[in-house]
């Protein structure tokens, strides 16, 4: 069953076609990676899917519901969550509060003016779970602004998880995370696989090939290939446009 559908999406900035007739269908439970050179329009695509940017034409579906005209919050309510390539968190909140707020958003009853939210155990428990899944539970009480870069990336993930999405859009969650941290991060993602549909943008090929069920290659707004990791790895066009020589892959 298709969980996330994209058909004939277009977006231009002036003369530049950033998204050029993109169609895509992501099966439910699948982890679909999108790779492509810098500036190919991957982040722009995610922004359009999540509703942060308007599309010029084309439509986006969750299941068979057309969500093209919905706002970002409305899409989140339908189970679409995203993480940001460039960290976007609430710097003055603790890690836990960042995530608890996402849990609260999911629950939907935020016009409550009384009752101390910090004492709401269910919120905090759910938030801790998400933090644990992202591997950040030991830093729960630290102010987000004092977390290191790698930890910010994890917090991004935890926030997205806390909204309990059906479809999770991850924009370079591994950016700036290296070594064992990256490995354990990949493990975290691996554990999440299958629980929901994921769209993953990454330049870390090791991670992509380890995680993805299918890979689409986006080059200058167009999808030039979609297939299994194996097929993509060996596609000459993809190599020329993106991967380069095998030994350059680290």
């Amino acid at each position: 069953m298709t969980s996330l559908g994209v058909s004939n999406l277009c977006k231009s900035y002036g003369a530049l076609k950033v998204t050029d007739d993109v169609s895509l269908s992501v099966e439910s439970g699948e982890l679909h990676a999108i790779i492509g050179p810098n500036g190919a329009g991957k982040t722009t695509l995610i922004s359009q899917l999540s509703g942060q940017l308007n599309c010029d034409s084309g439509s986006v579906f969750i299941g068979d519901r057309d969500i093209s005209r919905l706002t970002m919050p409305q899409r989140v309510k339908l189970g679409l969550a995203r993480s940001f390539q460039i960290t976007s968190i609430l710097p003055g909140f603790t890690a836990l509060e960042n995530v608890a707020l996402a849990v609260q958003a999911r629950e939907g009853s935020s016009f409550r003016f009384f009752g101390n939210v910090a004492d709401e155990a269910p919120l905090n428990t759910a938030a801790m779970t998400a933090l644990r899944e992202a591997g950040l539970d030991h830093r729960a009480q630290v102010l987000a602004r004092s977390l290191s870069h790698g930890e910010h990336r994890r917090l991004e993930l935890a926030i997205a998880l806390a909204t309990q999405p059906k479809v999770l859009l991850l924009d370079e969650p591994l950016a700036g995370v290296g070594g064992e941290d990256a490995e354990s991060f990949v493990e975290n993602l691996q554990k999440l696989k299958g629980r929901f549909t994921m769209v993953l943008i990454e330049h870390d090929m090791e991670a992509v090939f380890a995680l993805a069920d299918r890979v689409s290659v986006l080059v200058y707004g167009r999808i030039i290939a979609t297939g299994t990791p194996e097929a993509i790895r060996n596609d000459p066009e993809v190599r020329a446009a993106y991967l380069g020589e095998e030994e350059e892959l680290v």
Partner: protein, 322 residues
């Protein structure tokens, strides 16, 4: 700056200390044979209410309203207008003030919230000025000259506000009640969303909130609370004029909030006290008191970035993170 547990209790503690001091002030003033301070005190309390209300959106919602004096004016004119129709009850006047303010805040807030930052400051100023000029042209209530009130309001038929003592303690009670209200709001689910919007609106949208509704709600609440301060102020001065709504007043409210320390509710109360008392004292000392007041403000900013709250923190009197 974050609504964390330690800051929370610090805020309440600071406020409690202030409230106790407020409660003790009148008998003290009488004992010192200076009962006049009770009336000054009432004005300070009224401004404290307004400053606290402004902090609710300014400190927690990052919405710097430069037109908040308009609500002060709505509150004051609610008293004048109802009194001219023979309605003297404080509660009715407050309800009326809240109604006008809620409508005005809802409409102007909805428009203003399309903008951010300094644009927001200026568009709220624009609406504040429109209200100001509207009341200036309102000949029926004295226009620019304003109207004197024949008497203070009554509470459920009781002449509670008849004496300066009565007025003072009723105002204090209102302040405490509104502080409790704001305190609850800030710590609530709603409050956390509001603070989150201040921290990073894009993120808040990405987790599924539409900031607009929360900000507008907070804006309306703040406007209504400020209007209550206006009702009190009219009773204190027994006089109402558009001067209550000029942009200078809005500016003064911002000064009180920032001087006290943004985003902790107790700070603005202290800020109102400090600003008005200083004005009172410096004014008595020198006719060039504005010079000294200005110097004080500049020094405060340079050496104590978080206003009075920051100063107390530095001296270790209040704890909480920077």
């Amino acid at each position: 700056m974050n609504p964390d547990r330690p800051a929370l209790s610090g805020r309440v503690k600071a406020a409690l200390v202030l409230f106790v001091l407020f409660a003790l002030m009148p008998p003290l003033a009488s004992a010192l044979n200076d009962p006049f301070y009770i009336l000054i005190g009432t004005r300070i309390l009224a401004y404290a209410i307004a400053a606290m209300a402004l902090d609710l959106i300014l400190g927690y919602g990052a919405m710097v309203s430069f037109g908040h004096a308009a609500y002060l004016g709505f509150g004051a004119y609610a008293v004048a207008i109802l009194q001219s129709y023979g309605v003297n009850d404080l509660i009715l006047q407050i309800l009326f003030a809240i109604c006008i303010s809620a409508v005005f805040a809802f409409v102007t807030g909805a428009i203003s919230l399309r903008t951010r930052g300094v644009y927001f400051i200026m568009i709220t100023l624009a609406f504040g000025q429109m209200a100001f000029f509207f009341f200036i042209s309102l000949s029926a209530y004295g226009g620019d000259d304003g109207v004197a009130l024949a008497h203070r309001s009554t509470v459920l038929g009781l002449d509670l506000l008849g004496t300066d003592y009565g007025l003072y303690y009723v105002t204090l009670a209102i302040l405490i009640a509104l502080f409790a209200l704001c305190h609850r709001i800030v710590g609530s689910r709603f409050g956390r969303v509001l603070t989150g919007i201040r921290e990073n609106p894009t993120r808040i949208e990405a987790i599924g909130f539409s900031p607009f509704r929360y900000q507008l709600t907070a804006f309306v609440i703040s406007g209504c609370i400020t209007a209550i301060a206006g009702v009190v102020l009219a009773n204190q001065a027994q006089f109402v004029s558009p001067a209550f709504m000029s942009w200078h007043k809005s500016g003064e409210l911002i000064v009180m909030v920032v001087l006290g320390g943004v985003g902790n509710l107790a700070g603005p109360i202290a800020g109102a006290v400090a600003a008005l008392l200083l004005e009172e004292w410096l004014g008595a000392l020198s006719k060039n008191w504005k010079l000294y007041f200005g110097i004080f403000l500049v020094l405060m900013v340079l050496f104590s970035p978080q206003g009075i709250t920051g100063l107390l923190r530095k001296m270790g009197i209040v704890r909480g993170q920077e």
